[in-house]
């Protein structure tokens, strides 16, 4: 009897179409249709700062060096390269839609983008600088003086620099992906194969973690829920592999990472924190194996990959150069 009631409950929870054609009760939610930019000057200043190599100690690295705005907000490398050719120990996450992530960094050590900005600036393997140095350098620039004068009453400070960068980053939303269009009721916007992939994505359980508006980015999860990924990887465990454990020193946090967003995942290869998966097929295969104990056929993988590619949105307006 109890069993039947449960089944009934599940049947009801199957997705239904709302009046305005928008799909409800879907585990994935569309991004906002438009990005509201309140202060265009600030976004423009933020972009300039984001692309300014003076933020690094030796003027070789900008934020955009690792978060290439024309490559899905990543650098396409396994590990990012910082100043003096220093190789980092982790794969750069995309800056696109990052404001929707509940935490920043793979191990979620920053609560928001503002906190996040301190990381790369100070990391000796990334920008190797500090805010005093950055402020000093930027103060020497007449253009910055006039820009900051316009927006921050002339104060070139750590807070204001971060504020401008964060404002710009928050504008980096890849709206209007084909899948979002589908979620908004335009069934024709995705192919049958992609839809099939989405259904598999849901029924196989990917959606248990890759869910919500950012298709991920709203929880922590262990890498290797149903298998020992790191043992099978056969390469030594690095500091980066420890995940949240490096913060909390709690054994249950070992190998626990922030679930990455799958939006624009098509553009952000290689995959995982260690950049070990070169292609989406590979990534899907690994995920199915270690998180879901599932062996997928090529057809299944392809459909899921096809679905994932439908999550690629438009290049943010602020990347193209914002115009009034």
């Amino acid at each position: 009897m109890k069993f039947n009631t449960l089944l009934l409950a599940i049947t009801i929870s199957v997705s239904v179409k709302a009046k305005d054609n928008q799909l409800t009760n879907e585990p994935i939610l569309p991004l906002p249709e438009v990005v509201k930019i309140d202060n265009l000057d600030k976004v423009t200043l933020g972009k300039t700062l984001f692309e300014d190599k003076r933020l690094s100690h030796n003027q070789t690295i900008s934020c955009a060096s690792c978060h290439n705005l024309n490559r899905g907000g990543v650098d396409g490398l396994v590990h990012s390269v910082g100043i003096n050719g220093a190789e980092g120990n982790i794969n750069s996450p995309s800056v696109f839609n990052s404001s929707f992530n509940f935490r920043q960094f793979w191990n979620g050590r920053a609560k928001n983008l503002n906190e996040q900005a301190d990381g790369p600036i100070h990391n000796p393997k990334e920008m190797g600088s500090n805010w005093d140095e950055v402020v000093q350098k930027l103060k020497a620039d007449k253009k910055y003086q006039s820009d900051f004068n316009k927006i921050y009453k002339g104060f070139i400070t750590q807070e204001n620099i971060k504020d401008a960068i964060v404002t710009f980053e928050s504008s980096l939303v890849t709206v209007n992906s084909r899948f979002d269009q589908y979620l908004r009721g335009n069934e024709a916007s995705i192919t049958e194969n992609e839809l099939k992939g989405y259904q598999r994505f849901k029924s196989y359980g990917c959606v248990a973690c890759h869910q919500g508006m950012n298709v991920g980015g709203n929880m922590f999860q262990t890498m290797g829920v149903m298998g020992d990924y790191f043992k099978d990887r056969k390469t030594p465990i690095t500091e980066a592999d420890l995940g949240r454990y490096s913060l909390t020193k709690d054994e249950s946090d070992r190998y626990v990472f922030r679930v990455p967003s799958l939006r624009n995942v098509e553009l952000t290869a290689p995959y995982f924190h260690d950049g070990s998966a070169k292609t989406l097929q590979e990534a899907v295969t690994v995920m199915a194996k270690y998180q879901l104990k599932r062996k997928l056929s090529n057809e299944e993988i392809d459909s899921i990959v096809a679905f994932l590619k439908s999550l690629t949105g438009e290049t943010p307006a602020s990347v193209k150069g914002v115009s009034k």
Binding site: L6, L7, F102, Q211, G212, M219, F220, K293
Partner: protein, 554 residues
């Protein structure tokens, strides 16, 4: 008075200070009170929403965590708010701060548990969902494969679903046994059946996480954060009422001091009123005293005037006294003449040689001499009399001068002083005057000259009379070398004298000047003369004079 002002200013200053204390103690908390209360309310609401969404997320399979993420952000704001100095709840007292710290620590811990919940719940939900799907898909339940394996699978699914809906230890143990057996016997790897392996994996996840998660949810929902928040709130209210008490104390103190100040002010006003009254009385006394003083002053002024007048008359008398010596000579001579003539007559009578002519001549001489004496006496009488009431009369100047000379001729001749009178004085020159007074002036001047030149080798006094038409000019010049310039202004002032003490009164010249001016004449010192020369200018006719002018002169 100054003391009171300082006291008053001090009092006002103290009042303002007290008032500011009162306002500070009252407003600092009351202003923030609503904000803090709102914060408590929001905190409770945020936590409750989070808990609600956690339960929802636990029970409903398709719900995303976006909602919980939003709730988490809300909860994150709670401690940011509580620790923000602007909220006005931090740094009131240690107890309150400690309770806030306890609460925020517990909240942090809770939020970590929420993250664990999200991870584990995702896994558990996924596994449960998977098993439910298998149960729904017929081909998994009814197949033509190995019957034993099918049964096993069926059993696993049914049991684990039952366990996930209504967990109990027996069921868990039974399930665990099956899973352990399967894993131990390595049946899964040999069986080639992927779905059995998956089922076992999922069942394992359920067995692994179900209990933990239930405990976690229970802990989250019944967490002690609520109690700790209540404690914060309670401490806040205690602090608040304390501050209210402080404010009340200040209020009472303020009232008390105000009252004191009022009394003080009233007391001061009374004092002031009293002192004002005293001043008023003093003023009145002063006025009467001033009047009295003025009266006294007037009286003394009158006394002075009386004394002055007495002095003036005594000066007259003294000059009279001076004259007396001279007069003695003047009278003695005619008396001797009379005596001589009387003897002559007696001799004639006794000789019997009475010659009518001689007798008549002799008696005539006696008569004349007698008249002369009578005149001198009359002159003395005039001197003694207060002359100002006397009317003026036409009198020959030469006669006045001659009369005057008669008082001092002898004295001057004794001392070898040559008294010259301009010859050929026209006896018909008459002036309208009080002859005694004029005579007095002349006599005074002559006496002054006498005193001045007495010791000189060259001793002479010249008196001249000139007819100037309406005026007559009498000049009295002596052999002195004039009066020094610095004394000229002073000599006319009353009581000024260069004579030895006791010799002069210092009134002579001033009186003389007064007398001449009362005759509408002029009494001046002739500076052009090489010798000391006083000039009297007198009108021949007196003009009508008002009574006041007459008084002034006196």
């Amino acid at each position: 008075m100054k003391k009171y002002i300082i006291l008053a200013i001090g009092g006002i200053f103290f009042l303002v200070l007290l008032f500011s204390f009162y306002q500070k103690s009252e407003s600092s908390m009351t202003e923030n009170r609503q904000n803090v209360l709102n914060l408590f309310l929001t905190a409770k609401k945020s936590e409750l929403t989070l808990e609600k969404d956690i339960i929802k997320s636990r029970n409903f399979l398709s719900l995303t965590y976006d909602l919980i993420v939003e709730d988490e952000k809300e909860v994150d704001q709670i401690c940011l708010g509580l620790n923000n100095p602007l909220t006005g709840i931090k740094n009131i007292n240690k107890q309150l701060d400690d309770s806030i710290n306890d609460y925020c620590k517990a909240l942090d811990k809770k939020m970590i548990q929420v993250e664990t919940f999200k991870s584990k719940n995702a896994i558990l939900k996924n596994s449960t969902l998977y098993l439910q799907k298998i149960a729904l898909e017929d081909n998994y339940l009814v197949g033509n494969k190995n019957l034993k394996e099918e049964e096993l699978r069926n059993q696993l699914v049914k049991m684990s679903l039952a366990y996930s809906v209504a967990p109990n230890n027996d069921l868990k143990e039974a399930l665990q046994k099956i899973v352990d057996n399967l894993l131990l016997n390595n049946e899964l790897t040999t069986s080639n059946e992927d779905d059995l392996e998956m089922i076992v994996s999922h069942v394992s996840r359920i067995l692994e996480n179900k209990d933990n998660l239930d405990v976690l949810v229970k802990n989250l929902v019944s967490s002690n954060t609520e109690v700790l928040l209540d404690k914060v709130r309670q401490n806040y209210f205690v602090s608040f009422s304390k501050s209210e008490d402080t404010a009340l104390i200040f209020k009472k103190l303020l009232f008390g001091v105000c009252l004191m100040f009022l009394f003080f002010t009233m007391y001061n006003i009374i004092l002031l009123w009293k002192s004002a009254n005293t001043i008023l009385i003093a003023n009145q006394t002063l006025e009467s005293r001033v009047i009295e003083r003025t009266k006294q002053l007037n009286e003394s002024k009158e006394t002075i005037i009386q004394q002055q007048q007495a002095l003036i008359s005594s000066a007259k008398m003294s000059s009279l006294g001076e004259m007396a010596g001279g007069i003695a000579h003047e009278i003695n001579t005619p008396l001797a003449i009379i005596g001589m003539r009387v003897e002559q007559l007696e001799e004639c009578v006794s000789d019997g040689t009475v010659n009518t002519e001689l007798v008549l001549k002799t008696t005539q001489i006696i008569k004349n001499t007698n008249t002369r004496i009578a005149k001198i006496i009359a002159g003395l009488r005039f001197f003694a009399r207060d002359s100002k009431t006397m009317p003026t009369q036409m009198e020959s100047v030469s006669k006045i001068l001659a009369d005057t000379f008669s008082f001092c001729k002898e004295k001057f001749s004794i001392h070898g002083i040559q008294l010259e009178i301009t010859k050929n004085i026209d006896p018909s020159i008459e002036i309208d005057c009080r002859p005694v007074e004029i005579s007095q002036v002349v006599l005074n001047l002559l006496n002054n000259s006498f005193d001045a030149i007495e010791e000189f080798k060259e001793k002479w006094i010249k008196v001249s009379l000139t007819d100037l038409g309406d005026l007559v000019e009498i000049r009295i010049t002596d052999s002195g070398q004039g009066i020094p310039k610095d004394l000229q202004d002073k000599i006319m002032q009353p009581f000024f004298t260069t004579k030895d003490v006791g010799k002069g009164t210092g009134l002579g010249l001033s009186i003389s000047k007064g007398i001449i001016e009362s005759h509408q004449g002029k009494f001046v010192l002739d500076n052009n003369s090489p010798n000391t020369c006083f000039v009297l200018l007198l009108p021949k006719k007196q003009q009508e004079k008002s009574q006041e002018e007459l008084k002034e002169v006196s």
